[in-house]
């Protein structure tokens, strides 16, 4: 078919349908994905603002605590009574340290604290923090405390050759975290620099560590985590003042529900489209493919001379197909009629042919006979021609002059130009003339033996074509 591969109508439309469905699914998926992503991004950006508010609020609270500690350290030692210390409620522990970070005096201490006068705070993270306080008025960041191995945030002030170290009351921090979370509906986690969850709002989602290293170069809204049976998107913040990272967990249940709902919608929609496609395929098969196949079958039957004239066009759903059927029926009838005529004519022609063949054969035979007769006639005529005409003949020796002017013996001349052959004898007169003695003795014998001798004399053609008794 000149490079074209024929296809079935049904499979062609089926593939077309599947391709359409896939394209529709892809477009639908992309549209849903883009919409969800935009919605999620907007929601996350709003949550980022919440987190930033929390950071600002936390810094303000810590500033109040720091101011209170500064007031405390400004007091003379004699005025630092337990009543005054109790007013410093944001702090659970307050110490005075020597230059080597050894604990000199405990003003306030949490119950069960495991530090004691003489205890050294010269641990690496604390030493680093205290080394830096002269430059920046900042908190230590959240670290594991020496007192009871619980998380702690320290604040140190250097005053008159003494170092005052205070630990923020973590219950105070946790209460604050919980209130914020209850207001926003988003859990909040305070993280150490190595990603450990040092404090969490209540209710606690049960996350104990965040993989901060793998999130360093990740996009801001990527990598949801699962905790407490739910998915969360962590948003990370870092406060330079507090030197602490915190993570705001945005619940993704709304997105999950929306995504699931849209997924179900897409599934239902695509299932509906697929169902419609199936119905379309069935209709296509029943209304178009089957009639076309019927036409093809009828054509094949017609090809083999089997034509049934029925009114199939009336059962067709489409005018075009009915018209095709009408045209086909008409065409088939016309073809059938012509074929019938053709067959009859063919039969007649065959009869004529047979007659003609017989006649031709007879004529051929007659012609052959005629040819034979003509040939015979020609041969006869040829012979007649040879003996016709005026032959120059010698009056004495009876030789004949041929076309070349040569004189030939009569026998030679006639023998070369006819079927006649000569056998030599002699006639009675010549015998008498040339062989008188023989003739005489013979005459005597003849007279004596009667007719016997006379039988010995053969007949021979004479010069004129007659026969001569010799």
């Amino acid at each position: 078919m000149n490079g074209f591969q024929t296809k079935r109508v049904r499979s062609f439309f089926l593939r077309l349908e599947i391709t359409t469905l896939l394209l529709a699914a892809a477009i639908l998926f992309a549209a849903v994905w883009i919409t969800l992503d935009a919605f999620k991004r907007n929601f996350m950006e709003e949550s980022l603002k919440d987190g930033e508010k929390f950071g600002i609020f936390l810094e303000n609270k810590f500033q109040e605590a720091r101011d209170a500690l500064k007031v405390f350290t400004d007091l003379p030692e004699t005025e630092r009574t337990q009543t005054v210390v109790r007013l410093l409620s944001p702090f659970s522990d307050i110490y005075r340290l020597d230059r080597r970070l050894r604990l000199e005096r405990i003003y306030k201490s949490v119950q069960g604290s495991q530090v004691f006068p003489g205890y050294s705070f010269a641990r690496q993270d604390m030493a680093r923090y205290i080394d830096s306080i002269a430059e920046r008025d900042r908190l230590s960041g959240i670290i594991r405390s020496s007192e009871d191995d619980t998380p702690g945030i320290y604040y140190a002030i250097e005053k008159e050759n003494a170092l005052y170290l205070a630990r923020l009351d973590f219950a105070y921090i946790e209460t604050f975290l919980s209130r914020f979370s209850q207001q926003t509906g988003k859990p909040l986690l305070l993280l150490s620099k190595d990603g450990f969850v040092m404090a969490a709002s209540n209710p606690d989602p049960g996350i104990f560590q965040m993989d901060l290293r793998n999130r360093e170069n990740a996009p801001p809204f990527s990598g949801p985590i699962n905790a407490d049976g739910r998915n969360w998107m962590p948003l990370f913040f870092e406060s330079n003042e507090i030197r602490t990272q915190f993570a705001l967990l945005v619940p993704l249940n709304l997105f999950d529900a929306l995504r699931n709902m849209l997924a179900w919608f897409m599934t239902g929609f695509m299932a509906g489209l697929a169902g419609i496609a199936v119905v379309k395929q069935r209709l296509l098969r029943r209304s178009i493919v089957q009639p076309i196949t019927q036409i093809a079958d009828r054509m094949a039957a017609l090809e083999h001379g089997d034509f049934s004239d029925d009114d199939i066009a009336r059962s067709q759903r489409f005018q075009e197909l009915a018209a095709i059927w009408d045209r086909f029926q008409a065409m088939a009838r016309a073809i059938t009629a012509r074929e019938t005529d053709l067959r009859e004519n063919q039969a007649k022609l065959q009869t004529v042919n047979r007659n003609l063949e017989t006649e031709i054969a007879e004529r051929m035979r007659a012609q052959a006979e005629q040819q034979r007769l003509i040939q015979e006639l020609r041969e006869t005529m040829g012979k007649v021609k040879q003996l016709e005409g005026i032959l120059p003949i010698c009056s004495f020796c009876k030789k004949i002059r041929d076309e070349d002017g040569c004189w030939r013996q009569l026998e030679e001349y006639i023998g070369n130009r006819s079927q006649a052959r000569f056998t030599h004898g002699f006639c009675e007169a010549c015998a008498r003339k040339h062989y008188p003695e023989v003739f005489q003795s013979k005459e005597n014998e003849r007279l004596g033996s009667g007719r016997a001798r006379a039988d010995a004399i053969r007949m021979a053609p004479d010069e004129t074509g007659g026969t001569t008794r010799r």
């Binding site: 078919m1 024929t6 296809k7 079935r8 049904r10 499979s11 089926l14 593939r15 069960g112 604290s113 495991q114 530090v115 004691f116 003489g118 205890y119 050294s120 705070f121 010269a122 641990r123 690496q124 993270d125 594991r144 020496s146 191995d149 619980t150 998380p151 150490s192 620099k193 190595d194 990603g195 450990f196 969850v197 040092m198 404090a199 969490a200 996350i207 104990f208 560590q209 993989d211 901060l212 290293r213 196949t293 093809a296």
Partner: protein, 367 residues
């Protein structure tokens, strides 16, 4: 024009689907993940527990082809919770475990590993109750008897005669037999006089402890494990009163956090260990460096055992072992197993014998 057979398109689709399914099934069978439970405590703000899980994370990140799938089994290092969590994990289909819990938890769950329903590689529980049993517990560290005899041998060589032993009553399945083994080994040598003080190390009362510490002692042995950072506080307290006296810890205090808390007492601390110094073993140094680079903190020493446990199980899985019986047979089939962090030689009961190292220059060890 010839109309083609209608089955060609669908046959192609069907064959492609069958081929893809077969490929998927083959790949699924070949790389079917094998869940391995890591039994430890999951808690915020402490490196114990997190270190073990991170050790597993790092192993799997470095071996992406491994069929192992780590499952965190949180037992809070509490015996009751250990039993409940382990039982549930087994019921959920887990057959292989790596445990890092203390001896009190190991004792609580050891009957769950008596039969072939599950196999455990124990990295931390040294209680002698696990020793010499033909069960499905494989312990890749020496038991408490060996450990305490080695420590007693070391203490015997120290100057002095008055030894204070602060025994952790929070983990008696470890410290009780350990003290018995230590004291009998040391007293047999007839030099040291032992004063024992029972205390809950994690929540010790400083007044009563200080009262006891203040007495005359030539050395302190803090018989406590579980990487409790309070060990550092106790060491400081003792060092405050006895600046020159050595302080001996157990191998279960090999944690940068404890050493950091110990402060000035670090110079007097003697730390026994089943593993060589990171300065003497490049493989260990590299492992700790990789860990710190990956997770941002220095892990405790138990992560070495966790890593070795994963490597042993992976070797067994690589040999086609998929059941506790098969893994047990594999582990007992070779006299010595090679891991990236050292060799492990099990005896017929799945126990090991080890040489102990004693670190005295811990500032160097921490760097």
């Amino acid at each position: 024009m010839r109309i083609r057979k209608p089955t060609q398109f669908w046959t192609t689709i069907f064959l492609a689907a069958v081929a893809l399914t077969a490929l998927g099934v083959v790949r699924q069978c070949r790389n079917k993940p094998i869940p391995v439970g890591v039994i430890s405590a999951v808690a915020g703000a402490v490196i114990v527990g997190s270190s073990e899980f991170n050790a597993g994370d790092m192993y799997l990140e470095e071996h992406p082809e491994s069929p192992v799938r780590m499952v965190a089994v949180d037992d809070q290092w509490a015996p009751e919770q250990s039993r409940t969590a382990t039982r549930k994990a087994i019921d959920d289909g887990l057959r292989f475990f790596i445990t890092s819990h203390p001896s009190k938890c190991a004792v609580a769950v050891m009957d769950l590993f008596e039969g072939p329903q599950a196999l455990a590689i124990v990295t931390a529980s040294t209680t002698p109750e696990l020793t010499g049993k033909d069960d499905f517990t494989f312990r890749i560290i020496a038991d408490g008897d060996q450990e305490q005899k080695a420590i007693a041998e070391y203490v015997h060589r120290l100057p002095g005669t008055r030894l204070l032993v602060i025994q952790d009553e929070g983990n008696l399945p470890y410290t009780a037999p350990a003290f018995a083994a230590f004291s009998s080994a040391l007293e047999a040598k007839g030099k040291w006089r032992i004063t024992r003080y029972l205390a809950n190390v994690s929540h010790f009362e400083i007044e009563s402890l200080e009262q006891r510490v203040r007495d005359d002692h030539d050395a302190l042995f803090i018989l406590a494990g579980s990487y409790q950072t309070a060990i550092g506080n106790i060491a400081q307290l003792f060092h405050h009163h006895h600046p020159e006296a050595p302080i001996i810890l157990t191998p279960w205090a090999r944690s940068p956090a404890i050493m950091d808390i110990a402060g000035p007492a670090l110079s007097r601390i003697v730390l026994p260990s089943q593993y060589a110094s990171r300065h003497d073993d490049p493989a260990l140094a590299d492992y700790f460096d990789r860990f710190e680079a990956r997770f941002g903190y220095a892990p405790h020493a138990m992560t070495i055992g966790v890593r070795q446990g994963f490597e042993l199980l992976d070797q067994a899985f690589g040999q086609g072992c998929r059941t506790p019986e098969a893994v047990k047979a594999f582990l007992l089939s070779k006299p010595v197993h090679q891991t990236s962090l050292g060799t492990i030689a099990f005896d017929r009961y799945g126990d090991v014998s080890e040489t102990f190292y004693f670190f005295t220059n811990l500032e160097r060890e921490l760097r």
